[in-house]
């Protein structure tokens, strides 16, 4: 095997998050890690530049689930192909493997834990939300599956184009290793590293000096989530109504056709106008499908707000731990002072007991002092590393947050423009239909 490092990735307590190091801290027990793949993991170049990735198909499978019951689920075909192979004029067949949604979730959870300072791209929704009536909320519905396929591909492309995330070994294996990938992921022990919800919540409430930028970021992510949810809800309602308007026109087609049977002069005009009404009614399906794509773009950023909040939470946790360590150090120093000078500054049980039961012997005091000294040294070390950790985290996180902001502004602006383009297309179709219909009516 090419990779020579043998350090385990299960580095409990290792709070060093530098990207380059992580690249080296990959599990050695990996199959199929050839020198070819080493080129893929080259420093400084996101994976996507070297490799074509797509999620090209979806299929239904049946199998037994964890509780040994029959279940139907969907798998998605991931195809990969080195970019070089195409540019050299040969188009080799792509490598491919099948993954289901839960495996994508696993990958993402791994990334969240392993790169807590990165705004990790979201997955497409697990269950259909913000649906309008014609759209099915059923996970098995082919339209839903198709939109999910696109969403999953988008997720992979985003990860693969990220300068940090794309270098991750587990991600690479997700794309290339068919069997046993799950075991590899679990072996990293990332689940143990995950911070408990309770711990995070605790930190949120008790941190004393939150970084102002992170507080603002948190507010922003809350506002973004709220406003996009509202927008998606309203949009779904409007889609419903639009559907109604167009479809009722289909009734014109039917009645015109029936009426034309009894009219001598008007018959032809009515018939042909009726056809245009039918075409108008049918056109709404395409229109709304396109709009669904716009909704999906908004949804991605709705879920991105979750990722933003996760980054803020991690920061709060680190900050909190730093504050705790600092607090602990201060109290220990105080204790040392008290012991050394014999003064009891603050009320303590020790002070009381010593008053009641008499002072300790100098030997005892010496012993205690010594222990305290050691603890203080440790504490100072801890504060130093915590501080460094915090600074490191803030530095790395803020780089990615800026990157994310750029990406978001660009993507959303494009989305808004594409929405306008959709509206224009809808208007043009409308003008066409009604011009044609008017011609038919005029001939009546």
């Amino acid at each position: 095997m090419a990779d020579s490092t043998s350090e385990d990735v299960a580095v409990v307590g290792n709070t060093d998050f530098a990207a380059a190091d992580l690249h080296n801290n990959t599990n050695n027990t990996v199959t199929g890690y050839s020198s070819f793949s080493k080129t893929m993991m080259e420093e400084g170049v996101p994976l996507l530049k070297k490799m074509e990735i797509s999620v090209s198909e979806a299929e239904k499978r049946t199998g037994k689930n964890a509780v040994n019951m029959q279940e139907v689920y969907t798998v998605y075909l991931i195809e990969t192909r080195p970019v070089d192979a195409i540019t050299e004029g040969q188009s080799t067949a792509p490598d491919s493997l099948w993954r289901r949604y839960s495996e994508f979730e696993l990958l993402r959870n791994y990334l969240l834990v392993t790169f807590p300072y990165i705004v990790v791209p979201p997955l497409p929704e697990k269950r259909a939300e913000f649906v309008w009536h014609k759209l099915s909320a059923d996970n098995m519905d082919p339209d839903f599956v198709e939109r999910r396929r696109i969403g999953l591909e988008n997720f992979l492309l985003r990860v693969a184009s990220h300068s940090v995330l794309s270098k991750d070994k587990i991600f690479y294996l997700f794309l290339t290793q068919d069997d046993g990938w799950k075991d590899v992921v679990y072996d990293t022990g990332f689940q143990a590293k995950a911070d408990s919800r309770l711990k995070a919540l605790n930190a949120t409430f008790r941190v004393k000096n939150p970084d102002k930028r992170y507080t603002e970021l948190k507010h922003y992510s809350d506002e973004l989530q709220s406003v996009i949810s509202q927008l998606l809800r309203v949009r779904a309602k409007v889609a419903d109504r639009l559907y109604g308007v167009y479809k009722v026109h289909g009734n014109y087609g039917r009645v015109f056709s029936e009426w034309s049977a009894i009219e001598r002069e008007m018959g032809d005009g009515l018939q042909s106008a009726g056809h245009h009404m039918d075409a108008y009614a049918a056109s709404v399906d395409d229109i709304l499908e396109e709009e669904e794509h716009y909704a999906d773009q908004l949804k991605e950023y709705l879920y991105y707000s979750e990722s933003l909040r996760a980054v803020c939470r991690k920061h709060e946790l680190i900050q909190y731990e730093l504050e705790m360590a600092a607090q602990d150090l201060i109290s220990k120093k105080q204790q040392r002072e008290e012991l050394a000078t014999g003064t009891v500054r603050t009320f303590s049980l020790k002070g009381m007991t010593s008053k009641l039961f008499g002072q300790e012997t100098p030997e005892q005091r010496e012993a205690k002092l010594k222990v305290l000294e050691e603890q203080i040294v440790e504490g100072e070390e801890l504060v130093k590393t915590s501080n460094a950790e915090c600074d490191e985290y803030v530095r790395n996180a803020w780089i990615d947050i800026d990157r994310f902001k750029e990406q978001k502004n660009q993507d959303l602006k494009e989305a808004l423009i594409s929405y306008a383009v959709m509206q224009i297309s809808m208007c043009k179709k409308g003008i066409q239909v009604w011009t044609n219909a008017k011609e038919c009516f005029s001939k009546m």
Binding site: Q230, V234, K237, V248, M266, N409, G430, I431, K438, M444
Partner: protein, 447 residues
């Protein structure tokens, strides 16, 4: 009308002139009403020269609805202004106020006088939603428009516009109208009419001419289809209104969003602006459909009912005629039977009566009755023929009007929708151009 046109018509339509002359003679005898003018030769000839003469010389407007409150009731009156050059009218301009009941009365009188002419319907009398709806502005405006159309159609009709009651309606002051209404056939004679009509419809018509059966079938289908179109048009307006309500909520959300952003403020606000502008355009569209297309379709739904009534009345006229023919036939049969020995006369002889004399008496009586019947049959035959002819001609006129109305209603609808999309297109295109210029600006600042 000048006598020249009468003569030329007579020359062109030789038989027709004779019939016209006969008809007019009969009509003058039988009509008890005041509107003899309607059945004058001139008016009949007008009817046959329909296509040649369509000069509009009576112009009516219905406007200025006003509330009136009395101790008993509240009602709305409309101002009716008439401008005319006709010699039959004493003045060239009239202004009166009329309430819905007066229009209803007019329609009744016209139907009475011309049972087989197609009179366009009045707007509906009652509103389902409740009494207070009567005074709602939109409702009154819709009604006013419909009443305006109603009187103008009568003014455009070659026969109806010369109706005496119509003239009174347009010209009389309130108290004059009230006293005029009280005239006319008394209650008993009107009741008699109704009884005869009911009897006739119960009897049914036996030999309905093919063309009127065809008309009946047409009206059945037409009525059905119009009803559906009316519902569809109203449903579209309803759905479009709901769409508008939804859209109105969108703009504010984009504006709200722009409050959290920095780089995206401008495009978000621009989108919000576009959506709000589209909402305004949608409101215009909904108003356009409600005011132009929907009322026309609804009017023709009511029209279909009018057509059915007209066809029924024609049937009744024919049925009445047929019943008299049957009566005559049975009297003839009775007379035939007299020729043969009748036992009752023989028995009468036993009681001292002269058989021959009794027979003769009876025969004379039958002859007298038959003579009366024959006269009546002659009158009714003319009535049937007149009814049929007026209906046929008016049917063509109605169909032409219907086609023109329906065509313009749908062309209007297409126009309304086209304008709606054109305006929205312009709004969204302006958004695109505004965003593209921003991009150029950004590029400039970078370099």
């Amino acid at each position: 009308m000048e006598s020249e046109s009468t003569t030329s018509s007579a020359q062109v339509n030789g038989n027709l002139a004779q019939t016209v002359a006969d008809l007019s003679k009969h009509m003058l005898e039988l009509d008890e009403d005041d509107d003899l003018e309607v059945f004058s030769k001139d008016a009949l000839i007008n009817q046959y020269k329909l296509e040649e003469q369509d000069i509009k010389d009576v112009f009516i407007t219905v406007d200025c609805p006003e509330n009136h409150v009395t101790s008993i009731e509240t009602f709305v009156t409309y101002r009716v202004i008439t401008k005319t050059t006709r010699s039959e009218f004493d003045s060239s301009e009239y202004e009166v106020r009329r309430r819905y009941q007066d229009f209803l009365w007019l329609k009744g009188k016209l139907e009475e006088a011309h049972p087989t002419l197609i009179i366009n319907p009045l707007p509906e009398k009652f509103v389902m939603k409740g009494m207070m709806e009567r005074f709602n502005d939109d409702f009154i405006e819709t009604r006013r428009k419909a009443l305006h159309k109603f009187v103008n159609r009568i003014a455009d009709h070659p026969i109806l516009s010369f109706n005496e009651d119509f003239k009174v309606f347009l010209t009389a002051q309130a108290w004059e109208l009230a006293s005029h209404k009280k005239q006319g056939p008394g209650l008993l004679s009107r009741m008699g009419e109704t009884v005869r009509a009911v009897a006739a419809s119960v009897r049914g018509v036996q030999n309905r001419p093919e063309e009127f059966t065809a008309m009946n079938d047409y009206v059945e289908t037409f009525s059905q289809k119009m009803g559906m179109l009316d519902k569809i048009a109203q449903r579209i307006v309803k759905e479009q209104k709901e769409y508008l309500e939804g859209m109105k909520e969108c703009g504010p959300v984009y504006t709200l969003w722009s409050g959290s952003e920095d780089q995206l403020v401008e495009p978000l606000k621009a989108i919000a602006g576009c959506i709000d502008n589209c909402c305004k355009v949608t409101e215009e569209q909904v108003a356009g459909l409600s005011e132009n297309q929907v009322p026309i379709l609804h009017e023709y739904v009511l029209c279909a009912e009018t057509l059915k009534a007209v066809l029924r009345r024609r049937d009744n006229i024919q049925a009445e005629y047929e019943s008299k023919v049957d009566a005559l036939a049975s009297k003839k049969a009775d007379k035939e039977n007299l020729k043969h020995t009748d036992l009752s006369f023989v028995f009468g002889g036993f009681l001292g009566k002269n058989t021959e004399e009794a027979k003769q008496q009876k025969e004379q009586r039958l002859d007298c009755e038959m003579k009366e019947l024959k006269e009546e049959i002659g009158r009714l035959e003319d009535k049937v023929e007149c009814a049929n002819n007026t209906l046929k001609v008016d049917w063509e006129r109605w169909k032409r009007n219907m086609q023109s109305d329906v065509k313009s209603a749908f062309v209007d609808m297409a126009d309304t929708n086209m304008n709606y999309y054109k305006k929205c297109l312009a709004i969204w295109e302006s958004f695109l151009t505004s965003q593209k210029t921003d991009v150029h600006l950004e590029k400039d600042t970078d370099s």
